[in-house]
Subunit: 351 residues, 2 copies
DNA sequence: TTGCAGCGGGAATGCGCTTTCCCAAATTCC
DNA sequence: GGAATTTGGGAAAGCGCATTCCCGCTGCAA
């Protein structure tokens, strides 16, 4: 048995479908109270549930927000998702979720699927790729988004602009000031450490990772320190772990009384930092005694980590909310100004 | 400018809409290759994107999977979400996300919204509430689900059955053996500790929490130990933190040489355990020296926590996948047998 | 050659709803 | 009291697509 329809309700109430529609689904025209009541009764007794698909088709607005992330189980993205979800609830919309693993090809596919579902807006989170082998896919993604916008869609991208995207209206960017913040972090750390700096980052071509490297190096340069060595690995916990392992093989635990030559590691995000810390520890290095380490993002779940991790706080939830709001008509003027702040904790304490 | 339609494509290709439909959206009837090519060309040049709403309306199947969770940023739920998402991708479906904060009222609302969107299936994660003040809402939720199932919907609920739900077909439960696993954990811990046991749990009436308490107490009883005291708090990190604080005020750090009277805490989930550990530490208690602690879930992000947390591993991702699969026609026979395992780590090491 | 099955394409209907347009009755105004 | 207006309801035309039914055509056996 299929769900009952508006027409059935109307018949039971002895009115026309038009009238039933008007009373049940907020129209500007309000039928008389007696009739309205009869219709509501009928709807109730039939267990009527309006067919959102049909409604969407008829009034061409779906109330859908498409969210694309790399991995919903990554706390970075789930925090953003929470922000998106929150706005969605307030606006009485629903969010459609797509995970892509970060490849532009899949992102394009996700956008196409959202477009097909006629989502009112699309929020894209996750770093852009500037790798040459992704160039073609990026272009296609940009084209897909462009088409979507031309058809009246709203898109917000979190982090940095899509490579090659047009400046159509309906296209919003919530920029994350990775460079500036990483620079600040470097400046802060430079005041505490003079040991060699090392950056554990994602593969070359991940915009977020690259920006954070750039900012950090810039900060070191301004402090007249030589540039940090950069170790590349996966942009996740495993990558951090691997990089940490490699690093550990080169670093000796400090002998007591020995002059301080302590490495200071900047991991391009918190989960990498945690991974690195884990492998350093496994190799007998202690934090912050033998090596200092800082991350980026200030992931909530990781705040109880010991030693507490120095990092850069990003208002992830707010970022998600802001991105979503910027796609909503009413708040179109929302500025995408995101601020973060350096948080120094125990993991980088001077010895 | 609205997106172009099938009719426009058909006209441009000089064929009927029927034919265009057949070539573009996998029908059983395949038009001739020459015509097909012409249609594809036309579609390409117009940037045609099929309207999934209209398709859904016409063939009454949306390819939508509704997922309801308490909080998408909670790693427990985001892990499950990943599993759901994965199956969704394989099946070429999309997931609709709703977060409820755990109240049956909002869950009902979410289910109604999914039903309105004609989602093919609904996955509900998160503990049931058995509180009397939620009884009415639970019943309404059950009724909503029942109606949804009668209309041909598939629902899977993770954890425990919905209170008062009918045994309609289309209604599946992926049971999490909280009681048995908590009992196992208690048994394991009873072999290592004889100090007083304390349970830090969520509010009374949260099924998952209550089940874990029950199992744990049962395990203690079987080991001929007296029941653990139960401290109630929020079923999240904050709750754990609060409970830990209260507990800390009663526990003294062990003086060296003093006979062992070490509390062993079982927190009803990992994030509570982490919260509790944080406040215990703030109060000068060291783990596992002064107090032992175990959690439940084995949240991935928390595995690098130090001291490493004893817990019960739950295959959360698999749970999400299984639940989703059970709602899909082809795999309807999927059994909902979930197994977990006790993992003893350093946080409960005997002194 | 005729008859029939089989195939490729088009016309038309309907999915469930919103909304414009239309019409009758009720109301207002002079 | 009649005309002008407002009000409240219904008829009907889509929204964009899938699909059933139908029709003309070809290929084959009789």
């Amino acid at each position: 048995m299929a769900a009952s329809t508006l027409a059935e309700v109307a018949k039971l109430a002895g009115v026309s479908p038009a009238t039933a529609s008007r009373v049940l689904n907020g129209s500007s025209r309000k039928p008389g109270e007696d009739i309205a009541e009869r219709v509501r009764q009928a709807a109730e007794s039939l267990g009527y549930v309006p067919n959102a698909q049909a409604q969407a088709l008829a009034k061409s607005s779906t109330g859908l927000i498409g969210l694309v992330v790399h991995d919903i189980a990554d706390p970075y993205f789930s925090a953003i998702a929470r922000g998106v979800q929150q706005v969605a609830r307030e606006q009485h919309r629903m969010v459609l979720l797509a995970t892509t693993g970060g490849t532009p090809v899949d992102e394009r596919e996700a956008v196409a699927a959202f477009a097909a579902r006629r989502a009112d807006s699309i929020v894209i989170a996750g770093t852009r790729s500037t790798r040459t082998e992704d160039a073609a896919a990026n272009l296609e993604l940009a084209a897909e988004l462009d088409r979507y916008c031309r058809n009246g869609g709203q898109v917000a991208v979190v982090g940095q602009p899509i490579v090659g995207a047009q400046e159509t209206d309906g296209y919003h960017v919530v920029t994350i000031p990775n460079i500036a913040l990483a620079e600040k972090l470097a400046t802060s750390l430079a005041g505490l450490h003079d040991g060699p700096f090392v950056i554990i980052a994602g593969p070359a071509g991940l915009a977020t990772s690259d920006e954070r490297i750039e900012g950090f190096q810039r900060g070191l340069a301004k402090a007249s320190l030589s540039p940090a060595e950069v170790i590349r690995a996966g942009f996740n916990r495993e990558g951090g772990f691997e990089a940490g392992k490699e690093l550990a093989s080169r670093i000796q635990p400090r002998q007591s009384g020995e002059p301080a030559l302590r490495h200071c590691i900047f991991a391009a995000n918190d989960v990498m930092a945690i991974g690195a810390a884990a492998s350093l520890r496994e190799n007998g290095l202690r934090i912050p005694r033998d090596v200092a380490i800082a991350g980026f993002d200030d992931i909530e779940t990781l705040r109880d980590f010991r030693p507490s991790l120095s990092t850069v706080r990003l208002p992830l939830e707010e970022i998600g909310s802001l991105a979503t709001l910027s796609t909503v008509e009413h708040h179109r003027e929302t500025s995408g100004q995101i601020t973060g702040q350096v948080i120094l904790r125990r993991s980088t304490e001077p010895s």
